[in-house]
Every structure is written in C-alpha cells, then in structure tokens.
C-alpha cells in the first residue's frame, strides 16, 4: 500500500517549486495579465530547457521517458505558481494525444520537436457559447480539408499546431492542423483570466492529418481529457494550496478589533473548510494519479472524482481567500484575483463541473458502483 509519490518524484517536485519561486512565476503571471503577450516566453524557454515538455515523451523520441506521476508533481507546482506558459495545452492535451493516438510516422516527426519547443500544440473543440458534444460539432472535414470556426482555444500565440475536433462522414474525427498555414486565421479573444490566452481559429479548407481512427474521434477526445483531468486536478490542488496559504498568512498578520483576524471563528472555520475541501481533493487526485499511471480501468471514474473535488476545492479556496483579505482582496494590486480567475479558467477548460459530475455518474452507472 503506497498512495504517495516516491522520494525521487518528491525531489523533482521540490526542485520544480524552487525553480518557479526563483523565477517569480506568480509575478510573471501578473506580467502577462498586464502586458500584451499571452504567455511568458522567457519562462517557457527555461521550462523547455529543463526538459519538462518531454517528461512523458519516450527516450527514442528524445524525451525524458518518465511517467505520468512525474508529470503530476510538475503540474501541482505549475498550478501553485500560476505559471503563464502553454504547458497544459501542449503537454497534457496535445503531446499526450500524439503519444496515445499518433501514427509512428507522426510520432517520429513531431515528438522530438515537442521536446525542443519547435512544435507547441493545443486542442480546439468549442464552437459556440455552449458545451461541445459529439452532436453539436459543426466544423467539418472533407477530402482531408477542414472548414469551420473554433472559439476558446487556449495558447494559440505559442502553438504551432492544433488538434481539431471535427465532423466527418464517419462521425467525429481528431485531426492535426498546422496553424501557420494560410487557410487558418487566428484571433485573440479576450478572456476573464488575462494571464492566459484564448483564441478563435477560423479554417477554410485547411489541410489536416487524421489522428486515430476515423469517426472515433469523440471517444478519443474523451479519453484525452480524462487523462488531462488528472493533470489539471494537480494544478488545481497546487493553486488551492497557494490560495489557502495566502489566506492563512494574511489572517495571522491582519489585525481587527485588537486581534489577528485569524483568531475570529468566522475566519478560522472558513479556512478549516478550505483545508477540508483541499484534503479531499488532494487524496482523490493522488488516487487518480495512480489510476492514470497504472492504466487502470478505473481511470474515467477516478479522473472525474479528482476533477470534481479539485474544481470545488480551488473555487472555494480562491474565493474565500479574497474574502479573508477584505477590501484588499478585491484590488488589482493583491494577487488574490489571479488565483480566483485561474480557478475559473481551470474549472471550465476541459468542461464544467456539471459536465464532470455527469461523466462521473454515468460511469458509475455503467460500472454499477460496487
């Protein structure tokens, strides 16, 4: 019985933490929010140099050949430090999809470039102001050429390629598109968390390459986001912990009525509730990390459980962190809102909590909850 990370994995995590602290990742996140770029390219290049983009890429494709657990501990630190880079799009979603469903030829060509950052990937699914499903995708492919418009696609400023979820004669396909081709136009779309970039992608007969089986794309997409949900849940618990730590520090230092506000139960119990939610989320994320790394058939349930708990924890911790900071918490100057906004971005990016609860329950219905 060992529901914990190994000493090597913990070491990797503490090195990642030191690195992101030294690089002032949170400050850089604010820099992106206030600047004109949608990610911090300097930090992104440093992360590439550390090899994190190739963590899961097998050595034969010039990656580090490590496992999902190593990726989980990195994700927790990226979340804790609000790291403003296209890591999640390129690594949790795009790279994982190529590793899982790419042809040997594609892997040979693209995986080494994902390691070096020459290729950066993202995934495009949403088309309208409602949840994407296998029934409402309109972007269409015929003769390998894709036409249609995607909105809310993350990280396109950095991305060179995107996987497009589109409709084909056989059903839903996953297709790879080179974003630099002339049939594709990309526009930044302002979003609530300005420390990350969202884009629309308009495709007019853009050339594409099929990934995985034709017509089977929605199932593949679901399986990709099941994996990503686990990694995002680690970002969420990292962010929750950071927000809780901020609130605890402030509650110890801020005085009102002659005492630290942390000595009032209104604050104490709030912070205890945050701790409880975070502990549940963390334990569920650990279990999901195990399910992911061991390719357990329990992954869909474990991932949804981690996702729902981590979403709840981060939303609670980030909003109550603002509350604990009083008027200061509502200012642009304090970092509270950075966590609040990131928590919402992370709780919507691969589908809302309502959707993940639905996935959880329908999976339990199939497995007959024992």
């Amino acid at each position: 019985m060992n529901l914990d990370f190994s000493d090597d994995q913990k070491f990797l995590q503490s090195e990642a933490k030191k690195f992101l602290e030294k690089e002032e990742s949170v400050k850089r996140s604010r820099g992106v929010l206030e600047g004109s770029e949608s990610f911090d390219n300097d930090l992104w290049q440093k992360i590439i140099e550390l090899g994190w983009t190739g963590i899961r890429i097998p050595e034969e494709y010039e990656g580090l050949g490590l496992g999902h657990l190593e990726l989980c501990v990195i994700a927790e630190e990226l979340g804790r430090h609000l790291t403003p880079v296209p890591f999640s799009s390129s690594v949790y979603l795009f790279t994982e999809a190529v590793i899982k469903y790419g042809s040997e030829e594609l892997k040979k060509e693209i995986l080494p470039k994902l390691v070096t950052g020459e290729v950066v990937g993202t995934i495009a699914v949403t088309e309208d102001f409602l949840a994407p499903t296998n029934n409402n995708i309109k972007t269409e492919v015929s003769n390998e050429l894709i036409s249609g418009t995607k909105i809310a696609v993350p990280d396109c400023e950095a991305a060179t390629h995107s996987i497009i979820v589109c409709k084909s004669s056989k059903g839903i396909d996953l297709r790879l598109v080179d974003l630099s081709c002339k049939e594709v136009s990309i526009n930044q779309v302002e979003n609530i968390d300005g420390s990350r970039g969202y884009y629309s992608i308009e495709m007019k007969q853009a050339p594409s390459l099929l990934i995985g089986d034709e017509g089977n794309g929605w199932i593949l997409y679901e399986s990709i986001i099941n994996q990503a949900a686990v990694l995002f849940s680690f970002e969420q618990i990292g962010g929750s912990q950071a927000a809780l730590d901020m609130a605890v520090n402030y509650a110890n230092e801020r005085y009102a009525f002659g005492k630290p506000i942390g000595s009032y139960q209104g604050i104490k119990h709030k912070l205890a509730d945050m701790y409880v939610a975070l502990t549940l989320a963390k334990s569920n994320s650990y279990y999901a990390a195990w399910a992911l790394s061991s390719e357990s058939s329990d992954l869909p349930v474990a991932a949804a459980t981690a996702r729902v708990s981590a979403t709840k924890a981060y939303e609670l911790c980030s909003k109550e962190n603002i509350q604990t900071h009083g008027g200061n918490g509502f200012t642009w100057e304090y970092d509270c809102h950075l966590f609040y906004k990131r928590s919402k971005l992370l709780s919507l990016n691969i589908g809302s909590i309502a959707n993940w609860k639905e996935k959880l329950i329908s999976n339990l219905e199939q497995s007959n909850l024992n």
């Binding site: 529901l3 000595s263 104490k268 205890a272 549940l280 279990y287 195990w290 459980t305 959880l360 339990l364």
Partner: protein
Amino acid sequence: MDFKDTPEQAKFRKTCREWLEKNAKLKTGVEKNEFANIDFLQVAKDWQKKKYNAGWAMLHWPKEFGGIGASAIERIIWAEEESKFNVPKGIFEIGLGMAGPVMMEYATDEQKARYLPAMAEGKEIWCQLFSEPSAGSDVAGLRSKAIKDGDNWIINGQKVWTSGAHFSDYGILVVRHDPNLEKHKGMTFFFLDMKSPGIEVKPIKQITGGSSFNEVYFTDVVIPDSQRLGEVGDGWKVAITTLMNERLAVGDANGADVEDAFRWAKKQDDSGEPLINNKSVRSSIADWYCEANGLKNTKLRTMSALSRGETPGPEASITKIVSANKLQNIGAFGMDSLDMAGMLKTDDPEIQSFQNAWLGAPGLRIAGGTDEILKNIIAERVLGLPQDARADKGMPYKDIPSGNS
C-alpha cells in the same frame, strides 16, 4: 504508487480474511437488522470473546493482554477486512478505544494484568465519564469534585452523555480536586467500578427514541487512591491522551453511504422514472461520491505513511466532520425521495437506514468533538492560526463565569 500489499501484509490480510469468513457473514449490500429483537449486548459480547480467543480483539496489544502485537498497518488491515462483515458494533468502541490506551499508559502492571484482558475479551465493559452539564466542548470546565480522605477519594457530582454507562462495569473519570487552581491544573483522573455504592445511572432518551447515553450521579462514591491514573493535578494531561484517541476512534460515521443512495436512486420511481435520471440527484450523488472517496483515499495516504514507519500527517482530522455531515445529507435525501411517505416508520431496511442516518447523524456531529470544535482544531493545530481568545485564562476555576447550566 501502488495498492499492493507487501507480501507480509498480503499474508496477514489473508489470515484475517480466512478467520472472518469462518466466523462471520459477509455484508451483502442491503443489511437487514439481524440484531433486532435479540439480546444485542449478549451477541456483541459473544462476538468480542470469539475475537479475543483468536487474538483479534485488541490485536496491537502485547500477547500478555490478549493481543498479537500487531503493527499499526496490520491493525488497519484487520479493520478493513472486519468492516466487510456484518458484525455487532457499538458496545466496546469507547472502552477499547479510550479507556484501553489510558490504562495501558498509566495503570500499574498488576492493574493492567487484571483489567486489560477482561476489557479486550468483552467480559467487562468500560465507559468514559468526562462530559458534564456545564462541561462538554469545554470539558476542562467540569466541576464534579474529588476530596482526598486517607487512602481514598470521595467523589460527588454529575456526569452526562455517558454512552453505555447503563451496561458498563468500569469507567474512566476526570474530576476536580482543587477549584482554587487554574481550571486545567485542578483536575485528577481515576478509573472506577461502576457498581460502587453511590453511583446512580439514569438513561437519557435520545432523539432517535433509544437511550445509548446516560446521566451518572455520584454521591460520596469512594475510589481508592490506587485507582488514580497519573499524578494528582495531571487529570487534563491524561484526559488529552484519551481525547486524542477519541478522534481516531470516532472517525468514520457508520450508516447509509453513497452506495446506498445510488442503489436507491436507481430503483426508486419518481413519476415513472428512476430518481437517478434527475439532474439534481445526480449532482448530489456525485458530491457524496467525491466526499466518500476523498475520505477513503485520505485513509490510504495515512496508511501509506504508517506503512513506511512514518507518522501520518494531519489529514485524518477531516474524517468525522465530512462523514457525519454526509450521513445527515444522505439520510435526508432518502427520506425526501419518498415525499410525504418519508415520515412513515416501516420495516423496509433501506428506508430504515435513511431514517436512522438522518436521526443519528446529529449526534455524531456532536459526540467526540463537535463540528465547530474540530474546525477550531484544524484552524489552530493544522493551519497554525491563533488560539481562540479565552475568557477564563489564568483564572482560578472557582472564579470562572459559567452561565446558568
């Protein structure tokens, strides 16, 4: 990360499992109350004795007291396996979980030899006499008195909410020996024979209609000084040992859980459709599933630390708050799902389990540290926030305001 037992743990689990299979029935899902209308106390005692004879009763205790010297992890493995079987619960937990460790730490060797094996065997049942009418959360506010009289102490006063006092043979007791001292310093700890002259036990009827706890009155009850546990004035220190154990012993709330809610929702018809098709029901069940598994996985993290011989982190402190509230919500869900009929008493074991959950959960949110006190503990001891300002700090006990109770 892995969920495999080590070869030794697997072997141990198999031994537990084999013994349990021979001696008890596996749970099937919907448990009929097999123990209704029978002498539950006797059934529980028989089961305890069976366990004791095989070494399982207090398996982490040394052989001389009836254990097998099991490690913390083996103890958890046993508990995991036992929980899969339908066995009588609720009689011995307080004695074994709270009186046991205190006796082990503070009693003399002769006392241990005399009392511990009988406690483990279930021959003698123990209760915990801490709470008083004016001292619950603030148990150090207690006022029952002990006055030294030669080699004896004379006890006067009242305890309340004493679970199992009506069938207990012995009790652990904390009382005030000097009201002139600061409240935490003026207390002393004893164990005593519940059949001593001057003890009167009066059952209290609970909101469930049953009576598992009692008022206990003491009128000139004599306790020999040899039954003092710890030094005179160390009562609080000794009590804290048991309260720490209590937090582990009380832990998970037994009763209707997410599996039961799920099974129910799948078959129960609500205007021709199973409830599980209702969005809000799906959402609630998802929440309970996340909580239940969050607790289960938290326990696994604790076990992982124990397994490596490390001290577990504070994560287990969330167990009772989460599980007691979940129990209350699941109970309410089951009853609500029956609409007007949810209020009706019935023989249906599933409906009963929701009603029992709903009726019992309020007690669990109070017993062994209320939700509010547990949140204070998390805030202060885990998160490091300042202690609550105390109105009674440094005052002699007798000068502390105590309201009307």
